[in-house]
């Protein structure tokens, strides 16, 4: 009985995630943000914001993937931040 309850909890949680993932639409407050603004806001949550000049375009691409996983930033945020760093270095 306990096992069935646990399984049902997993099913409900997964379903809830599916609903959330498919129903979330960012507002213009989020979508209008520039890469520079996102760079300032997100990097400093854990560490000092790096200088765009510290890495090459290719290296920023790789770091973007790493930070997407480490800080769980969204894919759109990653793309904008990397584009900004590549344009400013």
């Amino acid at each position: 009985m306990k096992k069935k309850k646990n399984i049902l909890s997993i099913v409900l949680t997964t379903f809830l995630f599916a609903v959330i993932i498919n129903s979330c639409a960012p507002t213009s407050k989020i979508t209008d943000k520039s890469g520079a603004q996102l760079w300032g806001e997100n990097c400093m949550r854990c560490h000092n914001a790096p200088s765009p000049a510290d890495y090459s375009d290719t290296q920023w691409e790789t770091i973007g993937m790493h930070m997407k996983l480490r800080a769980n930033i969204s894919d759109v945020e990653r793309e904008k931040i990397v584009a900004f760093l590549q344009s400013a270095n």
Binding site: T14, I21, I63, M65, K68
Partner: protein
């Protein structure tokens, strides 16, 4: 039972496929954009690293034979990052800490769509925010980690909220209106009941960092983070995990479970009137191990005892950096305060005790300063006072030079 299993598989397939369907437009755009050197499949590799060197002085140690000051730590951790394609990514870190060599993590991740990335391997514990985000020495502002249930206080390192696990995870970041949320859900080998070098149980201490599993049960856990403000200045996280800690086939302990939860908070904001950046970070951890009977150490009769096996631990850190000041020296100074506490199970035979032999809370107050030589290199100083349940105080002064490159 089979119906339920079918329901799980169907729900998972619907969840994953609908997420993919929503992302198809972006995927098509990516495909049409990719050409020449940007094409998917070109390996892009980056080698980065952190290094550190530290000094420690015990200030109120009156034992004449004790070493009272020491260059106590050095380390170097190269980190390898491989972007194998737009969807496939590998990351690994080797830590060489005071001469000990360890593969800290090695994880392969595949981005299924914008919101879901699946990973597998040895990974930093997605429990709380500390292990994944605040632990690296060039990010940690203090010369040392917060007070934690490790082998300085307990018979073994618990790795309750730091270190690495073996398993698979699913994670992602999701915009929600003007807010953001993120999630990490994982299945891992899970905890084990810690043992000493002879194989004897350490009376209910749990160890989370296991390369090999000790039973067929897997731990399930994860973290949900919520960033309520559009400027992402505040993040609140809730984590939970549950697994069986007893050895497979051990009739006495095979059903002993360990359930843990954590809250974390991170707030970073620039305050222009103060020309400063203020940071607050905190994490609360609690773990409860099912009650059981353990042999009393050094008791020739083999008598057993039991106790409420709950351990709680938290820290709260405040930082103040006048980064917006016109004075370049002040810009690079960061003032720090951290308060830490651990309450091990009061009736366990292990852990610090008061004068009546009962357990209590160990606290530590840390006052620190970090001078930033660059965005990733800092010289850290701290004065720390630890107070044990028996009233004994230990004061220490620490210095650490740490850099990321």
């Amino acid at each position: 039972m089979k119906k339920i299993e079918l329901l799980i598989v169907t729900t998972l397939l619907i969840s994953l496929s609908t997420g993919y369907a929503q992302d198809s437009t972006q995927t098509e755009l990516n495909k049409s954009r990719l050409s020449g050197t940007d094409a998917s499949g070109n390996t892009k590799m980056l080698l980065t690293a952190v290094a550190w060197f530290g000094f420690q002085a015990h200030l109120n140690d009156t034992v004449k034979t004790d070493v009272k000051n020491n260059f106590n730590s050095y380390g170097f951790s190269p980190m390898f990052l491989w972007k194998l394609s737009d969807k496939l990514f590998f990351e690994s870190e080797i830590e060489i800490n005071n001469g000990e060599f360890e593969l800290e993590f090695a994880k392969l991740s595949y981005s299924l769509n914008k919101y879901i990335t699946i990973g597998a391997g040895r990974m930093l514990t997605p429990f709380g925010a500390y292990a994944e985000r605040w632990e690296p020495v060039h990010i940690e502002r203090f010369p040392n980690a917060p007070l934690r249930p490790d082998d300085d206080l307990l018979p073994d390192n618990t790795h309750l909220f730091w270190g690495a696990i073996m398993g698979v995870d699913v994670r992602g970041g999701i915009p929600m209106g003007s807010a953001n949320m993120n999630y990490s859900l994982y299945v891992s080998n899970g905890p084990s009941l810690a043992k000493d070098e002879t194989g004897a149980l350490l009376g209910g201490v749990v160890q989370y960092e296991n390369l090999d599993d000790n039973n067929n049960n897997k731990e399930v856990g994860g973290r949900i983070g919520f960033l309520p403000f559009s400027n992402s200045s505040l993040e609140i996280g809730f984590s939970g995990k549950h697994g069986i800690a007893g050895d497979e086939g051990d009739s006495a302990y095979k059903n002993i479970g360990a359930t843990a939860y954590a809250f974390d908070l991170n707030y970073v904001k620039a305050f222009k009137p103060l020309k400063s950046i203020i940071g607050i970070r905190s994490q609360f951890n609690s773990v409860t191990i099912d009650k059981s009977n353990y042999i009393i150490p050094d008791d020739s009769t083999g008598a057993t005892y039991t106790f409420d096996n709950t351990l709680q631990n938290y820290f709260m850190q405040v930082s103040f950096r006048p980064a917006l000041s016109k004075n370049k020296f002040l810009q690079n100074i960061e003032l720090l305060f951290r308060y830490n506490a651990i309450t091990p199970p009061k009736d366990a035979v292990w852990g610090p005790k008061d004068t009546n032999g009962k357990g209590g809370t160990i606290t530590r107050t840390d006052i620190g300063l970090c001078y930033w030589l660059s965005w990733r290199t800092g010289l850290r100083f701290a004065y720390e006072t630890q107070k044990n349940p028996d009233g004994e105080k230990n004061n220490q002064f620490l210095i650490r030079f740490a850099t990321g490159f």
